[in-house]
């Protein structure tokens, strides 16, 4: 069985209103050095189906079809076997 972790964030070129608000809240708490805070989503899953060599392509497809919206989001995948 493999375990996959997917991290999804808004593209760098897109203004992250939520991230900016959280960054300001941290500044208000006194953490003045905080910069470029980006919010995102974390997805983890166990994978029993596809053979190992097919996993990267399969997860990439899952991300493009459902987990991320490629118009506005980037994603990063980690696979642990």
């Amino acid at each position: 069985m493999a375990k996959a972790r997917v991290i999804i964030t808004l593209k760098k070129t897109i203004m992250d209103a939520q991230g900016q608000t959280v960054e300001k809240a941290l500044h208000n708490l006194g953490y003045e050095g905080v910069e470029n805070l980006r919010m995102g989503k974390y997805v983890e899953m166990d994978l029993n189906g596809a053979p190992k060599d097919k996993l990267p392509a399969q997860i990439d497809e899952m991300c493009r079809r459902l987990l991320a919206n490629p118009i506005i989001e980037d994603f990063r995948v980690e696979i642990e076997e």
């Binding site: 203004m15 209103a17 939520q18 459902l66 987990l67 118009i71 506005i72």
Partner: protein, 234 residues
């Protein structure tokens, strides 16, 4: 009031839709049009002239607004229906679903300004060459309410240019006098965009809710113009 010659409407009901009944009320009780609810598991859209994806929080807005609803069984039928020239109108969450389904270009993001915005807005009618806006005057200002946390429309530069080139921007947020200003933009939407259509002009998405203002006792009946446009003979 309904007659066999009238357009027949189908309103898709997803788990979490909550403007379906309002759309029914506007179309059936106010406009006298025949309307059916279509459960999201149904895949038969024959007999309908116009399919409406209503507002709400389909699938709890989990993952992204519209992202899960887009894969409901009914959506393959809606994509075929639209491809065959059928009229598809997405309102609010319905607009978000149309974007996720790729029936309209671009994507929806969280509002700039940290708020869920629920109030009347002024909209400038940018395009009257659609089945949804042909009873309106180009450049006129409508008062129609919005109610959303994710109405911040985004498209990349090439997509925006294509929208403009093909006259696909249908509504923009404006001042009461019809000026497009940053102050009149309730959610950070690109170029104050509130509604767009596809190139073929049979699919339209809009964040404002015409079904909530189709009766003067509700404060505005400007939403009726959408239904009048649809029902008016060519």
């Amino acid at each position: 009031m309904a007659t066999a010659t009238k357009m027949r409407f189908g309103i898709v009901v997803f788990p979490g839709s909550n403007c379906d009944t309002d759309a029914w009320h506007a179309l059936n009780d106010r406009m006298g049009a025949p309307v059916d609810y279509i459960w999201h598991q149904d895949t038969n859209l024959s007999g309908y002239d116009c399919v409406i994806l209503p507002g709400g929080f389909s699938y709890g807005d989990y993952l992204r607004t519209g992202a899960v609803a887009r894969f409901s069984p009914v959506m393959n039928a809606v994509i075929d229906f639209a491809g065959n020239g059928g009229l598809v109108l997405g309102i609010c969450n319905g607009f978000q679903i149309l974007l996720e389904a790729g029936l309209l270009p671009g994507a929806m993001m969280r509002n700039v300004g940290q708020t869920f915005v629920c109030r009347y807005v002024d909209l400038r009618v940018e395009m009257t060459d659609t089945r949804y806006t042909r009873a309106m005057d180009k450049g006129s200002v409508l008062r129609i309410p919005i109610a959303h946390g994710e109405g911040n429309y985004y498209a990349d530069e090439a997509t925006l240019e294509a929208l403009k080139r093909s006259d696909q921007i249908v509504f923009r947020y404006c001042t009461p006098a019809g000026e497009i200003t940053p102050e009149a933009n309730p959610n950070g939407s690109l170029e104050n965009i509130a509604g767009i259509c596809n190139r073929e002009r049979n699919v339209m998405g809009m964040m404002p809710h015409p079904e909530r203002c189709s009766d003067p006792i509700l404060g505005s009946a400007d939403g009726r113009l959408v239904w009048e446009s649809l029902l008016q003979g060519r």
